[in-house]
Symmetry: C2
Subunit: 599 residues, 2 copies
């Protein structure tokens, strides 16, 4: 039995499903030196971020590191992007915290168990999207919805870090306004040492990139490498603060990460409880969709810079595998990380081998560095989280949009406020429904433009925008929208109104060059319009009907029912009507004979 047969899945050969294999077959030694450097740099950024996002998600610090092992490696094996680094990300961590803290206390075993259920459900959901070819569903998360969501998530994340940042202990509050109102009256409880560490870390992290770049520029480092190294602020601040805590013996006066079990992750089984599974399912679906959209968009951007493309279907498989891997290795939901992927790119990472190098760095950390990290103050982690999410915020684009499309800006801000005030899930679903509503609304107010011949050309353009020629007995109207249930009545009404208003109209020509779809409601309307116009002695003709629409038009019987004809182009239709007019104006033989008689 040939293995190739075994692995044949549908149309593609099996290596198409495991992009790492053909990649390693053609791997060159010069690639490895690039991947090694990039992997080491990314690894150094990954460790403090993984611990910080675990802290944000409410899972133990080792879970964050585990998320950079099996899930990251699975993505490296199955992913179609060469530079995308998958692992813990802030937005998924926030969504985990918002969901799971409703069911169990943070850091508890039950809490981690529910997190694993979410990983598994999210992974399976992504695979289902792939199998059912419904990946297009993620398009519903339009740019304004994602943008509003990410900005709201950033605000939520920053607020969620305030207790750790100030040292004020607030129990269980995750909802931002509850948290703020619990914090404000207790401002006197601020722990000066914690705040000092937090503020110092924040200032360090904000200043580090510019200072590092300045120094590296003087040392004549290449720009790309300098940019990668300047992202090492989190690692630097973590190591510095660990040294300070150690040297000054502050471990007891500060909230610190605490003991991290040394060694590699064991196999974990997500607990099964039908009710709980159904309860967290909506959150899992949303985490999966948001993670996929973000990963895909980062992957596409990086691929485009190398003139390559990523495969949307394969990305569903790879991200699904990564999350299922997370479920069975005690990690938490993973996605493509914007910051680490771009560092990987600028540090020269050429293939997913850099992710494998990064995984080795994480393994080394898990084996030898867990002791060091146990004295890392939570205040420093909160500063790392805050600075990371500030980078995600994007408030600039909205200003551009207002002039262009007010609907999009309204959708963006509505999503932002709904996420802040009504929660992550309601906010996202509300945003999606709002964008659909605006889309339906705009297509239900179709533009109907009267067109005429442009000079001597075969082009027909708007009589309002261009100096065009028309025929007195023909009203040519272009429908600038699909004809479907959302606008059939409006189109019918406008056609009847225009044809009744314009005296002398004998032919109504519907120019369908912009019509890509006619549904059953639309087709029924065309039949009705045709018979209503017939009573007014106006013939209805169509032109420029798309080839894809003709079978539907013919099957509906409109071709025979039509009082006019279906013309190939507006040009041919108008030439036909011109000849008809000339034939009418030129007296027929019978008329000439008739006139001669009385003489």
């Amino acid at each position: 039995m040939r293995p190739a047969l075994w692995f044949k899945l549908g149309l593609r050969e099996w290596p198409d499903y495991v992009p790492l294999v053909p990649l390693l077959q053609n791997y060159k030694s010069e690639d490895f030196s690039h991947d090694l450097t990039a992997g080491l740099v990314v690894g150094m950024i990954t460790i403090p971020q993984a611990v910080a996002y675990a802290f944000l998600a409410g899972v133990p610090p080792q879970s964050g590191l585990y998320a950079c092992l099996v899930p990251m490696v699975l993505y490296a094996i199955f992913g179609s992007s060469r530079q995308l680094v998958v692992g813990p990300v802030a937005v998924a961590a926030l969504m985990v915290a918002a969901t799971v803290s409703q069911y169990a206390p943070r850091y508890s075993e039950a809490y981690l168990g529910i997190t694993l259920i979410i990983c598994l459900q999210a992974g399976i959901f992504l695979w289902i999207l792939r199998l059912s070819r419904m990946g297009g569903l993620v398009n519903l998360l339009s740019h304004p919805v994602i943008s509003g969501f990410v900005n709201a998530a950033a605000i939520l994340i920053i607020v969620s870090q305030l207790p750790a940042f100030t040292g004020i202990e607030v129990d269980g509050a995750i909802e931002p306004f509850t948290l703020l109102s619990a914090l404000l009256p207790r401002l006197v409880e601020i722990q000066p040492l914690t705040l000092a560490f937090a503020v110092a870390s924040l200032v360090f992290l904000l200043a580090f990139p510019a200072i590092a770049r300045g120094i590296l520029a003087r040392l004549k480092y290449p720009n790309a490498q300098a940019s990668a190294i300047s992202r090492l602020g989190p690692m630097a601040v973590a190591l510095l603060s660990i040294i300070v805590v150690w040297a000054a013996g502050l471990g007891a006066s500060l909230d610190v990460v605490g003991e991290i079990p040394s060694g590699l992750p064991g196999i974990t089984i997500p607990p099964f409880n039908l009710e709980l599974w159904l309860d967290v399912l909506p959150a899992s679906v949303i985490i999966a969709l948001v993670s996929y959209v973000e990963s895909y968009s980062i992957g596409t951007t990086l691929a485009a810079r190398k003139l390559t493309r990523i495969n949307a279907h394969q990305e569903l498989i790879a991200l699904g595998a990564a999350n299922i891997g997370a479920a069975f290795t005690g990690a938490y939901p993973v996605a493509g990380s914007f910051s680490r992927s771009s560092v990987n790119f600028s540090a020269g990472g050429r293939t997913p081998v850099s992710s494998l190098v990064c995984a080795v760095v994480v393994i080394l950390a898990l084996l030898f560095l867990t002791g060091i990290f146990s004295v890392l103050p939570n205040a420093v982690l909160s500063a790392i989280v805050m600075v990371s999410v500030i980078g995600l915020m994007d408030l600039k684009t909205t200003r551009e949009h207002w002039a262009l499309q007010k609907h999009d800006v309204i959708t963006e801000y509505a999503t932002l406020f709904m996420v802040l005030f009504l929660g992550v899930e309601t906010g996202l679903i509300g945003g999606v429904l709002l964008s659909i509503a605006f889309f339906i609304r705009s297509s239900s107010r179709p533009n109907i433009t009267q067109v005429g011949r442009l000079g001597d050309t075969e082009h027909f353009r708007s009589i309002k925008r261009h100096d065009v020629e028309t025929l007195p007995h023909v009203l040519a109207l272009r429908v600038d929208e699909n004809i479907y249930f959302g606008n059939a009545v409006q189109i019918e009404d406008k056609f009847l109104k225009r044809s009744q208003r314009r005296k002398g109209t004998r032919h109504l020509l519907m120019v369908c060059s912009s019509v890509n779809l006619i549904d059953a409601t639309g087709m029924q309307m065309l039949h009705r319009l045709n018979s209503n116009l017939k009573r007014a002695d106006i013939a209805l003709s169509l032109c420029d009907v798309k080839g894809t629409l003709m079978p539907t038009v013919e099957a509906s019987g409109l071709t025979e029912a039509l009082t006019g004809q279906i013309f190939f182009t507006a040009d041919r239709a108008m030439k036909h009507f011109e000849q008809e007019l000339e034939a009418q104006q030129k007296p027929t033989d019978a008329e000439i004979n008739g006139r001669q008689d009385p003489i």
Copy 2:
């Protein structure tokens, strides 16, 4: 003070808001004879239907008659349709029964109170739609959704009449399957006399139109009048059965309508209870939307036969007024009646004056005939209801649709089954969401067609369907869909893929003749596509961009960012590219000089 100023509401003069006034000013005496005949015939059909639908809705019989007074007159005053007859209808009665029976026992005072709340809310909602110019919302009730809903409603109504039809008493069951399962084991309890009356009425009603037409044809009656008179079956069967019950003294052995209070309606005030108001609000909104869609569609059809149009805005005002009138006169929700409106039309009704005549007939019935109707058997009413709704069912069209648009058929049957199994509201909302989902899905899979020049013309058509000419270095792709969040990624992906596959492509021409909308997500995609193609040394150009889109394109900065140009037409673009090719192939002076040098 001039009254005209007082009544000036916005842009239109006040008579525009009260179409009956200008109509009466131009009223001719010959119109009256037509309206009188039509009004008398419609009145005779209205009385038994009004009592039967009241029975279906679960309100006292007089409520049905009251619905043909003030509400009908208010519509006659404000409506823009000349032939539409507004009053009690089967579908609204079913929806009232399905909603109100959850809160109070049928025929109770509390039940009628809740019905009045629904009337008031429905009326106010229609006015809000008018004021907010959101009347287009009703388009969401697409043809398949309405069709599936009406068929399901007909089934529900027929099932709901089975207890009255057979004489088996079933308490309170309104949900069809509960009702059927309660009925089946009790078939032995069938009351033979009740069933006999019901079956005889059913046969009579089904046979009456054909027999009446046959007789009238022999008497040489004009077709239209014969058609109107042949609809008098309900009145005939009601009178006949009343005579039989009276003559045979069967009043005690049958369920009969019972005493109907004589006289005109008093003023009723819908009870106020915030919780109850919020509970029934969704039902009121749906009743309002369905009533409006049905009324508007009947009105449009009848108007078209007289080559007139009805005004969608004015219909919202008029139907809203009719329902608010119903709330304050002890009636129940009203809508345009298909059967009575078409009888009005075929009996020669020319103006809403026929509705006023019909109202006078109802007043006379309320004053003098209530005693007679008290012995009308419920079994006869159930037969009248059943025959009425059979006429509403429409199963034929779906067969046509399957070949055309499977989505529409799926939506129709899904709505039908959801209404049957999950209830009226859930079913309708589910149907609307399904039709939106299908629409979004189809527009998210846009057709991208490569086009070329058709012979010597200026037309560019699909290279697959026509024998067209292309240029080797230009890839002209027509986008057959709006560019928006639902498909931006797919369009980008297809453009990149096609341009990478076709070797030698230097220009990518996006033909936008079918693009009616570009939203923010789409615009962002075009910018990204432009810069990604630039890296592959392919220039992006657009052509045939609609005039309405140009401001958005310019404001987004695409005009400057574009590596190619925005051409007016595909023809001009291709001529430009042809010249470019010729210029490249023709050696320049410098090249000629260069070649001469070595010689």
